[in-house]
């Protein structure tokens, strides 16, 4: 096994009486690794520890062999796309990414060029001079990814990067991560949706209630997952037309309209095929505003793994 890029040794993190992570020992090798777990599993805590935003209550965290807490030198080669949908809303996307580049130590011209490249990489060139407050969810996710990429990090942490994105943004962002991995960067991507992670990597780490449940190849838990119907929420203004469209798909087991929302929940036991079809819906004129997966089925699998 190659030298781990991220190392957690006996790491615990408590928030008062609440345990975020519990005696976690984990050695993550270079390449792309998926960090999977239901909400509350400790994924964001792990990422905040690994990026030096939090200090472990117990144990040690190292990235590229270096301690992460208040380590500005390390921050030059680490990028984070955080989960929270937070920006300096009054800035344009380009301004925001350029500012992040400058905060990383780049000069004015260098930062401008780097921001141009990062925005182009995530497909935001056309919209980069608009104020962020007017961005759609997908544009905001792309801009967050651009700020994480602007200094060309060697280790990238992505916290639920695909949540709420439309199918086109999802496809593009997956492509960006693949390119980064091909370029030699290491990526740790968190998600509560197995199929999102699976589209990025075969190597996953499973967390549940702050503990390591499993680590290894995604195929091993795929069978477990697929025994449970996968529930995917599609948000679309023309949701009745959308329902009519997807109802005929062979991989759709059921459709339910969401109360009080312009959206529907689709049940499928073949989520890969379903996700693969979605971009065609979007490009066919039905604009999907959001796509996200309920994690109840994943929770059930975790319960099975924990109690078996």
């Amino acid at each position: 096994m190659s030298t781990p890029i991220i190392t957690l040794d006996g790491v615990s993190k408590w928030y008062g009486n609440v345990i975020g992570l519990n005696k976690l020992t984990l050695h993550i090798p270079p390449g792309v690794t998926g960090l999977l777990g239901p909400n509350g599993a400790g994924k964001s805590t792990l990422l905040q520890l690994a990026t030096g935003q939090l200090r472990p209550s117990q144990g040690t965290v190292r990235v590229m062999g270096q301690p992460v807490w208040d380590n500005p030198g390390l921050n030059k080669v680490v990028g984070l796309c955080p989960e929270q949908d937070a920006f300096y809303e009054w800035m344009t996307g380009h301004d925001f990414v350029r500012t992040c580049a400058r905060l990383g130590g780049m000069g004015r011209g260098e930062a401008r060029d780097a921001a141009d490249r990062a925005m182009a990489r995530v497909g935001m060139t056309e919209h980069m001079n608009r104020a962020i407050r007017g961005y759609s969810k997908g544009m905001r996710q792309r801009t967050k990814l651009a700020q994480a990429l602007v200094h060309e990090p060697r280790v990238l942490f992505l916290d639920e990067p695909l949540t709420g994105t439309d199918p086109v943004a999802r496809r593009d962002m997956i492509e960006v991560v693949r390119e980064l991995a091909a370029g030699g960067a290491s990526v740790l991507v968190s998600s509560h949706v197995l199929h999102e992670v699976q589209s990025l990597t075969q190597r996953i780490v499973l967390l549940h209630r702050g503990r390591l449940v499993a680590e290894g190849q995604v195929r091993e838990i795929r069978d477990l997952i697929d025994k449970h119907p996968h529930r995917i929420v599609l948000v679309c203004d023309r949701h009745r037309e959308l329902a009519a469209r997807v109802a005929g798909w062979a991989d759709v087991d059921g459709i339910k309209f969401l109360d009080g929302q312009s959206g529907l929940m689709v049940e499928t036991r073949r989520p890969d095929e379903f996700y693969a079809r979605l971009p065609a819906v979007s490009t066919g004129g039905l604009a999907l505003r959001e796509v996200y997966s309920e994690d109840d089925n994943l929770e059930a699998v975790f319960k099975y793994l924990v109690t078996r």
Partner: protein
């Protein structure tokens, strides 16, 4: 060894200075966007409008009375500390509240420098605002009078210097308060009323803990106030005996010293503190 295995480069001074410059500019831009500046601008306009109104009554108000009431009382006791409180107490907590602190913590800037640069930018913005307020007030009170060019303008310059010193003290104190408690605004207002208001006006040694005590002392010593205004100041502020007051140098070094020590303490505290970003999943 792959590219990812190579250890990251160490700190570089030019890069760090560039990052600090960007952080300073970002903080200034944050402070000059949004409603806070608008509200404070309106607050500063009110006494100016009042001065213009009272100067244009059939029986115009005396300029010296207006200077004492508005420039020497309202500004240092109300507007200046309020300006520092609104900005400095949010130096970190606003970033935490808006969940943007992550973008700063993940950059090539040591945490303690991050705090100090943000505080410095805050000091510059609040001082700029107060300076404009002082200049506008003097213009509103003295414009068109014979004293304007010879006396009021130089006095306005000195008052700006005194208020800049006060802002250094207030920003350091309220920045510390913003780190210490989430209710910094309430605590800051309580501090202004109790320490800068009540205690500073009592003629006893304890008033030396108030920033406004040094502001008053410097105003009495430096401003070349008209005799009637100076007498009013010394009577109301309990500063009849100049010999009992600290020297100008002592005032400056005391306020600056306290500001530096409190800022250093705050930056140390900030560097050791964790700021947990709430996520939608709360994990």
């Amino acid at each position: 060894m792959t590219a990812t295995d190579a250890p990251p480069a160490g700190r570089s001074l030019p890069a760090e200075l560039s990052a600090l410059g960007a952080l300073f500019a970002l903080t200034v831009r944050q402070h000059t966007h949004g409603r806070r500046l608008l509200v404070l601008g309106l607050l500063y306009l009110l006494p100016c409008a009042l001065a213009i109104l009272l100067r244009n009554l059939p029986r115009p108000a005396d300029a010296g009375v207006l200077e004492f009431a508005l420039v020497l009382t309202l500004l240092p006791h109300g507007l200046a500390p309020l300006t520092a409180l609104l900005y400095a107490s949010g130096v970190v907590s606003d970033e935490v509240e808006e969940q943007t602190l992550t973008y700063l913590l993940l950059r090539a800037v040591p945490r303690w420098e991050l705090y100090l640069v943000k505080l410095l930018a805050t000091f510059c913005v609040t001082t700029g605002l107060v300076a404009v307020g002082v200049a506008a007030l003097y213009a509103a009170i003295y414009a068109g009078t014979p004293e304007f060019g010879d006396a009021a303008v130089p006095r306005a310059g000195k008052m700006i210097a005194v208020m800049a010193l006060a802002q250094a003290g207030y920003c350091a104190l309220f920045g510390f308060l913003g780190l210490y408690t989430r209710r910094a605004l309430v605590a800051g207002i309580a501090y202004v009323i109790a320490i800068e208001g009540v205690i500073a006006s009592q003629e006893f040694a304890g008033r030396a803990v108030a920033v406004v005590y040094y502001v008053r002392t410097l105003a009495v010593r430096w401003l070349d106030l008209p005799p009637d205004v100076l007498k009013e100041c010394r009577d109301v502020w309990g500063m009849e005996d100049l010999a009992k007051l600290p020297s100008s140098g002592d005032c400056v070094w005391t306020v600056l010293g306290v500001a530096v020590v409190v800022s250093a303490l705050s930056s140390w505290w900030f560097a050791r503190s964790e700021f947990r970003m709430k996520t939608p999943g709360s994990d």
